[in-house]
Amino acid sequence: MKALGIILAGGNNNKMHELSNKRAIAAMPVGGSYRCIDFALSNMSNSHIQRVAVLTQYNARSLNEHLSSSKWWDFGRKQGGLYVFTPTLTADNGFWYRGTADAIYQNIDFLKRSHEPYVIIAAGDCVYKLDYNKVLDYHIKKKADITIVCKDMPEDMDVSRFGVLCMNEDSRIVEFEEKPMVAHSHTISTGIYVLRRRQLIEMLEKCAEEERHDLVNDVLIRYKNMKRIYGYKIDTYWSNIATVDSYYNTNMDFLKPEVRNFFYKQEPAIYSKIDDLAPAKYNVGANVHNSLVSSGCIINGTVENSMLFKQVFVGKDCVIKNSIILNDVYIGDNTHIENCIVESHDTIRANTYLSGEDGIKIVLEQNERYIM
């Protein structure tokens, strides 16, 4: 137990539009049967990190429900455990988390009372598989103060919503800009950091003293010349889901055999809360092509190039194309859904026509459900 884990799951932004109205991004369903935070949690568990804190503040109901038992990820041991920290009122603090650094600082007792020498900080809104021990070994080998896990993005991709960095030949980070207007590199920070626990405590206390609250701007970028900050590149799949387009594309990536194989088949597995649903059922008229279908679904119509999350009911003569249908959606007969993301627990009446004409349409019908 060389390290403890911190997952930053507080985030929310307007780039998710209506999808993040009711939940933190980390609680977004991903890949058919998972929630986004499952990836970070499973990576922690698979890296034998046993003590993990999840920091959250934006509409945490959905997330809390998902994390209500830690047994799915094999936490909840006598040594270690899964802790969910939301902002609390105390005699000397009445603030929300004013930033990522502040979120950790407000729970600094957790850090101080732990005995693990290192801390792994990960974001809850990314889809990836990573053995954090490899990063930790690299961190120790490089005698780094901070190690940032980073990834080269395709040249044609707009990286302006990420932290963009440049490294020298020794992989030491020489440039680091958060959300740059003009990016000078296509290497981005994945929001995964490794550092010594005492180092983190020291930096956070200094930050708090100076009324600074952001982990990236006020710690990483500020210390980039003073401290030895190294980059650890990953070349396996990594994706951040924090915009509607990237959320859509990340889910659609699972239709590719290599991505499916990486996450669904290769060990170690990604874990999630078990919902005890019956396997999916295809009735007469089911016509499914190039799609992923989760348990509890009942299909009577056509589904193409789509992802159906759990417990989706597709009525007769429906056509669903290039769409993502979130958990527990009832789709009435003869409905056409194309280029859409349908929000969970929704009920689509029969004979509805929904189509995203220029871009992905988010569907929030909120009709009452009489059936089932």
Binding site: R260, I274, D276, K281, N283, N287, S291, V293, S295
Partner: protein, 423 residues
């Protein structure tokens, strides 16, 4: 120990030899069912849904799969500080050590387990039926009738009644007569093998019958209680209940799940069936694939065609392959352009490419005529079928088979290949 009003004893030690190669290496209650479940999930889920949180599972035949499936009972919420699930295997005693020789003998040997909880009532269940039942309602009936023994019964067609233990009751529901597989049944109420005993009465019966060889509930304990003049009542149950003791009934029960609105519905929120889920990923249907009237498990990848079948989790169906009227259990790999008709393929089998299963005329099986019937191809777990072979009906295969095992590339109807060892 906190006292429990009723605890359940689940008899899961039987081989289920009429399931042939399916139970060659697992006990019948551990046989997969419905694309995700194992047979024992049904009584276990019924227990927790009925509010029974203390269950003793009696195992004997090939218990490994059963033990690892049940574990400490997490999927059924039976991991408890008080009670929960306990696996009760035969054990060595200072004076003697014996196997469980009969259903009642198994309970007799575990009286200490029951005594720990000092229950008022004991529910006796078997691990080989598919049904949803609220045992609490049955207990209410037992109390209301002030019964010593309550036996769950269900009406069966009169012509089939001679296959069952038949109860004859008076207007009150009290059992007046008891017939085991009668030639000329005088009632059509068949015992479902589910009993509630007042523990005092059961304990007394078990002790007085302890010398009886192969002591069995149906053959010894119930007649003993009846003769002694105890109050035996029949509790009539009218829901879905299916004995899956033969390959034919096992196949049928699986196929019934595919019906548009199945009589036995697994999709209701109410009365969920729980199981250990090792695989949670969605399944994938490729562009060129087709799937209609079927149940598809998690993590399965379909590149071929599926019709009227129950497919388990992590199955791969290759391009151009067609599967009809079949049950494919978890982790089976099927090559390309293979046609499978009416087959039961157990876990972790590998079927080559270009094969044809379930062809030709039906002929009686040469090994066990009564077991391998119904026109089915039955393949035991971990078996391997080489590419480009043809397999007839009423056949059984177990083990790693090679092209040489198929003269002229054919296993004719009624033939079998049983290879010891396997993987």
């Amino acid at each position: 120990m906190i006292r429990k009003e009723m605890i359940a004893m689940l008899l899961a030690g039987g081989q289920g030899s009429r399931l042939g190669v399916l139970t060659a290496r697992v006990a019948k209650p551990a046989v997969a069912f419905g694309g995700k479940y194992r047979i024992i999930d049904f009584p276990l889920s019924n227990c927790i849904n009925s509010g029974i949180d203390t269950v003793g599972v009696l195992t004997q035949y090939q218990p490994l799969r059963l033990n690892s499936h049940i574990g400490i009972g997490i999927p059924w919420d039976l991991d408890r500080n008080n009670g929960g699930v306990t696996i009760l295997q035969p054990y060595e005693k200072s004076e003697s050590s014996e196997w469980y020789s009969g259903t009642a003998n198994a309970i007799y040997q575990n009286m200490n387990y029951i005594e720990q909880y000092d229950p008022e009532y004991v529910l006796i269940l078997s691990g080989d039926h598919i049904y949803k039942m609220d045992y609490e309602v049955m207990l209410d009936y037992h109390k209301e009738k002030n019964a010593d023994v309550t036996i769950a019964v269900m009406p069966v067609p009169m012509e089939e009644a001679s296959r069952f233990g038949i109860m004859v009751t008076d207007d009150e529901g009290r059992i007046t007569e008891f017939e085991e597989k009668p030639e000329h049944p005088s009632s059509n109420l068949a015992s479902m093998g589910i009993y509630i005993f007042t523990w005092k009465a059961l304990k007394e019966a078990l002790i007085s019958m302890s010398d009886v060889e192969d002591c069995d509930f149906g053959k010894h304990i119930i007649p003993y209680c009846h003769e002694k003049g105890e109050r035996l009542y029949a509790y009539e149950y009218n829901g879905y209940w299916k004995d899956v003791g033969t390959l034919g009934s096992y196949w049928e029960a699986n196929m019934e799940l595919i019906d548009l609105i199945p009589e036995f519905n697994l999709y209701e929120e109410y009365w969920k069936i729980y199981t250990k889920s090792d695989v949670i990923a969605p399944h994938y249907i490729a562009s060129e694939a087709k799937a209609e009237r079927c149940i598809l498990g998690e993590g399965t990848e379909v590149y071929g065609e599926i019709e009227n079948s129950v497919i388990g989790s992590n199955v791969i169906v290759g391009k151009g392959s067609v599967i009809r009227d079949s049950i494919i259990m978890a982790d089976v790999e099927i090559g390309e352009n293979t046609v499978i008709n009416k087959a039961i393929i157990a876990e972790n089998c590998k079927i080559g490419s270009g094969c044809e299963l379930g062809i030709g005329e039906e002929k009686p099986n040469k090994l066990k005529k009564a077991v391998y019937a119904f026109g089915l191809v039955t393949i035991g777990e971990d078996s391997v079928i080489p590419s480009n072979v043809k397999i007839g009906k009423n056949t059984a295969i177990s083990g790693v088979t090679e092209p040489a095992d198929y003269p002229d590339g054919l296993l004719d109807s009624g033939e079998y290949i049983i290879k010891a060892g396997g993987k």
